[in-house]
């Protein structure tokens, strides 16, 4: 047993930008890594999430698989964090909420331009889409929100650093932004 803090992360309906920002922490990451270890993340090979201290969720909830992953994270993580605009309010993917799912799929697979074999995919391997994209806090309880598209490396670092050291989490003015 180590007493390192176990962190998992996932990208739902997001663009991996938030994960990029996490990597952007640069050399400070090395200090961090000494204190943490990664469970399931896009950076590791672990497929099933195990018991974790912190879960970082990027992206909103757009399909059935997102729901399952999110619930698994909630079950296994003590602290679950919504990271970035899409997790927090659906972000750009939620712009499809202006249309019905039928309209979206018809445009994408049936009537849009450059389509040669028009049909709506129905393979059981594919996760079904929800009729709307939702922010993660509408599906599970979220303990903390890190805004930004993506949140800056500095914001993520400050958050992790203060969390690990047990200090109250406080951001400087420049560390909170929604874009």
């Amino acid at each position: 047993m180590t007493n390192k803090v176990r962190i998992a992360s996932a990208s739902l309906a997001g663009c991996f930008g938030c994960h990029m920002s996490l990597l952007d922490i640069d050399e400070r990451l090395i200090d961090l890594v000494a204190q943490i270890e990664f469970d399931r993340t896009p950076l590791t090979d672990i497929k099933q999430i195990g018991s974790c201290d912190v879960g970082l969720i990027e992206g909103g909830v757009c399909n059935a698989e997102n729901v399952e992953v999110l619930k698994a994270f909630r079950r296994h993580c003590n602290i679950l964090v919504a990271v970035g605009a899409c997790a927090i309010n659906g972000g750009v993917p939620a712009m499809r909420n202006q249309y019905s799912l039928a309209e979206c799929l018809e445009e994408a697979y049936l009537s849009g331009s450059g389509i040669d074999n028009p049909q709506i995919p129905s393979d059981p391997e594919l996760p079904l889409l929800l009729n709307q994209v939702h922010p993660v806090h509408e599906v599970v309880w979220i303990d903390y929100f890190l805004p930004g598209c993506p949140p800056s490396a500095d914001t993520i670092f400050t958050f992790l650093d203060e969390l690990l050291s047990g200090r109250p989490i406080q951001f400087a003015y420049r560390q909170i932004h929604y874009d």
Binding site: N89, M95, N97, Q98, P135, H137, F145, C149
Partner: protein, 241 residues
């Protein structure tokens, strides 16, 4: 002796007839606000400026200052209240800041930053609202309208055109354009109108201009609105230059 009152313990002089907001602005004390713009009649609709005095919550922009009154403004309790109001505004519309040209110079964002709002947290309404791109120079994105009625007031009181009105009621309340088709391109609106420069958010935007100021260097990117001031005032200054 001229009359005075206190905001969070700081003495603020005022002239008879001034509102708490007017006196505070003159004394350079920031009271968060969205629907207030000193150039127009006070409105009192966003409720962001609510302060407490005598145990009552009142809108600073519509409440007259009284000699000797004690006003609480930036207390923990009131800031929490303001965050809630901001959250309501965020979930009521569709605010995709990363895709909004106003981001960084948006007063809704700026007040939310000032009040330390991390996320809207409530359940989102995701209303279906249109974008009106019919005007050659100006675009209206109703998804971002917070119903502050500044454009309504500017067009009615200043431009004397009455281009904007409010329709519906309750959560269905919405901004409307006065023209035969209901479209901006068909109205008497011009990009030179005062109404083109008063919107605190990204609902009324000039066309053909994007990323002139890079992200990170925008109005509120580095410094709080409490020091930078209203975006409308900056837009007015840019216009005069």
């Amino acid at each position: 002796m001229s009359p005075s009152f206190k905001i969070d313990g700081v003495t603020v002089p005022f002239e008879a007839g001034q509102s708490i907001m007017e006196a505070a602005l003159a004394a350079k004390i920031y009271i968060p606000h969205l629907c207030h713009n000193p150039e127009f009649h006070p409105h009192g609709s966003c409720r962001l400026c609510c302060v407490t005095t005598d145990g009552r919550s009142v809108a600073a922009c519509t409440t007259p200052a009284l000699d000797g009154m004690e006003v609480a403004n930036e207390t923990h309790e009131i800031t929490t209240q303001r965050r809630l109001l901001l959250k309501l505004l965020f979930v009521e519309g569709n605010h995709v800041c990363p895709a909004c040209e106003k981001s960084g110079a948006c007063q809704l964002q700026a007040v939310a930053y000032h009040c330390g709002m991390l996320a809207p947290e409530f359940v989102h309404f995701y209303p279906r609202r249109a974008v009106d791109a019919s005007h050659p120079e100006t675009i209206i994105d109703f998804n971002r309208c917070i119903l502050c009625e500044l454009c309504v007031r500017a067009s009615r009181e200043y431009d004397k055109k009455g281009v904007f009105s409010i329709g519906g009621r309750g959560i269905q309340a919405h901004l409307m354009i006065n023209s035969p088709s209901g479209k901006l391109g068909d109205s008497r609106f011009s990009a030179a109108d005062k109404a083109a420069r008063v919107c605190p958010v990204g609902a009324i935007l000039p066309k053909h201009r994007g990323y002139e100021v890079p992200i990170g260097k925008r109005l509120y990117d580095q410094e709080s609105i409490s020091r930078v001031g209203d975006v409308a005032a900056h837009q007015e200054r840019d216009h005069d230059e």
